[in-house]
């Protein structure tokens, strides 16, 4: 079974522990930390700015079209077109929201 160093006073253990662990130089530790972080920290999210702007433009056009349909067409005709337009606006809006808020940074750990 796994055996931990006993908790009873052990002079050899005390002597070794008084000596402590060897430490690498502070310069080395700082350089290693920087290297690990630079290599494996997740890159900040690059927003899909072009896609987001295009999506917002389409959303605006669809929204305006929906408004026009509701305002200009009589209820009988507008009632047929309005639900699909509303669904399109909501769907596209939802997709944009997911793109902007729900994406997580991709870590590079364990990938090489």
């Amino acid at each position: 079974m796994s055996q931990r160093p006993s908790s009873a006073p052990d002079p050899l253990k005390a002597l070794l522990q008084a000596q402590g662990l060897q430490q690498p130089s502070a310069t080395f530790t700082a350089a290693l930390t920087r290297q690990v972080v630079a290599r494996y920290a997740a890159a900040p999210i690059a927003p899909y700015s072009a896609g987001t702007w295009l999506g917002k433009a389409i959303l605006l056009v669809l929204g305006s079209f929906l408004g026009l349909v509701m305002y200009l067409l009589p209820l009988a005709k507008g009632g047929v077109l309005a639900p699909s337009l509303t669904a399109a606006v909501l769907g596209l809006g939802g997709m944009l929201w997911v793109f902007e808020h729900a994406r997580r940074p991709q870590s590079k750990l364990g990938t090489s």
């Binding site: 662990l21 870590s107 364990g110």
Partner: protein, 194 residues
């Protein structure tokens, strides 16, 4: 991993590091670099090579984190990588380098105003470092892992790739050798130390 056990600090750090959080990555390096360096130093006997080994080992460990089996502790897995990397480095050197006559010892921390106590502590550390340097590298390594690194016998077996009985025997022999080395270096003061 036990379903009912709350995640350990290591698990949390590993999870955060897995998400690429810089603080978690830096903390993992800070937490394990001292024992990793000491292990490497015991094998390669040279500060420069030991630093190189530690750097290689950390990069290898983070690159292969996907292969890490959560059944073992991260530290055990990391120290095994450090040990194997150090062995490879030592083999690549061919002939083992000569150990320095006065091995590097950490500066003793003076905790009180008692100057004599500080001198005594510094002397103790110097002679202990000399005694450890007289031991075969593997024996000094086992003592370091068990008493300084607080690694269990099972963990040492996993790190060194040895059987339990072999590690137990080695630990016993290393203790006796260290005591003998201290006795040789400090024939009169030895009894006050141990």
């Amino acid at each position: 991993m036990d379903f009912f056990q709350p995640p350990s600090a290591d698990d949390l750090l590993l999870r955060q590091a897995g998400q690429g959080q810089p603080q978690a990555l830096a903390q993992l390096v800070q937490r394990y670099q001292a024992l990793a360096y000491t292990v490497a130093l015991r094998v390669v006997s040279n500060a420069e090579d030991a630093e190189e080994v530690v750097q290689d080992a950390f990069l290898k460990a983070f690159a292969a984190l996907g292969q890490f089996q959560r059944a073992a502790k991260f530290s055990t897995w990391l120290y095994r990588i450090v040990y194997n990397t150090a062995l490879t480095k030592k083999r690549a050197q061919g002939r083992p380098r000569e150990l320095p006559l006065t091995p590097a010892t950490p500066e003793p921390a003076v905790t009180s105003g008692d100057g004599w106590a500080a001198v005594r502590q510094a002397d103790q550390q110097k002679y202990l470092a000399l005694a450890l340097a007289r031991l075969p590298a593997d024996d000094a390594l086992v003592l370091t892992l068990h008493y300084l690194g607080e690694q269990s016998i099972a963990e040492i077996c996993a790190i060194l790739g040895k059987k339990t009985s072999a590690v137990k025997m080695q630990l016993l022999r290393s203790r006796q050798q260290l005591e003998a080395a201290l006795l040789q270096l400090l024939p009169t003061e030895h009894q006050h130390l141990l």
